[in-house]
């Protein structure tokens, strides 16, 4: 499954970057959402995929039976998901405000600070 997931992650990265390269600020945000999903899945995939063995220790045992999925990447991704959400919330409201002050959903109109 890893090769399939590798392609999925690649596709998510590509889609997100493509979205971010649009002129629409709304698409920009959607691109950001996809980007963070892509990175999380990348970590998930690259540390190995395990089927049906969540890292939970059943009652009566001290470690999970047999092989279990690596819990550490899961914890990292969980953190990354939540961080991604925080950042996303900010970004969404930011584009909303930017739209309000600029009056257009067009990144190309937002150049006053550089030139």
């Amino acid at each position: 499954m890893e090769p399939v997931m590798a392609v999925v992650v690649g596709a998510l990265f590509a889609a997100s970057v493509y979205m971010m390269l649009r002129r629409s600020i709304v698409k920009l945000v959607i691109g950001l959402i996809l980007l963070s999903n892509a990175a999380n899945l990348l970590i998930f995939t690259v540390s190995g995929l395990t089927r049906g063995a969540p890292p939970l220790i059943p009652e009566g045992l001290e470690v999970p039976p047999d092989a279990w999925a690596d819990p550490l990447p899961q914890a990292l991704i969980l953190t990354a998901i939540v961080i991604g959400f925080g950042v996303l919330a900010f970004a969404v409201v930011l584009i909303h405000r930017a739209y309000e002050v600029v009056g257009e959903d067009d990144m190309d109109q937002m150049r006053s600070t550089d030139t």
């Binding site: 939970l56 925080g86 919330a89 409201v93």
Partner: protein, 139 residues
């Protein structure tokens, strides 16, 4: 949203969601769940209430300003790791106090639990700060 049906259902769902969130919070150490997920669930509960009613009522329901919850949560989470230093342990060293309460069985009070409660409050405070601010702007 001025829908009677939604409002009534929300009144029914709200206690269930709140209870469920506490449940998810407390058992997270042993099964899927924990402070985050619980905090997110309780946030969605209030968000649902917000959609069914309005900002004022949601604020009233919550009682405390979500920014206060946010600050308190952060303070609790941070401070849950500090006192250990006075016992000569590193910050955030887990301390456990299994307490035998008559009729309740053993309750495992611990600093990770306190930490998780902080997490819960932070998530609730943050999400509701955002959602309420947005909804207020909308109104």
């Amino acid at each position: 949203m001025g829908s009677l049906i939604l409002r009534t259902t929300t009144r029914l769902l709200l206690p269930l969601l709140l209870l469920f969130s506490v449940f998810i919070l407390l058992r997270g150490h042993d099964e899927p769940g924990g402070g985050f997920i619980a905090g997110l669930i309780v946030s969605t509960a209030f968000a649902l209430y917000l959609f069914a009613f309005d900002v004022a009522r949601t604020r009233h329901l919550m009682g405390a300003d979500p920014r206060l919850l946010l600050g308190l949560g952060l303070l609790i989470a941070t401070l849950s790791g500090v006192p250990q230093i006075f016992l000569g342990e590193a910050f955030f060293t887990g301390l456990w106090w299994p307490i035998e309460v008559p009729g309740l069985g053993e309750i495992k009070l611990s600093t990770p639990l306190v930490f998780d409660i902080g997490v819960y409050l932070v998530v609730l405070g943050a999400v509701m700060t955002i959602v309420l601010a947005l909804a207020e702007a909308e109104e």
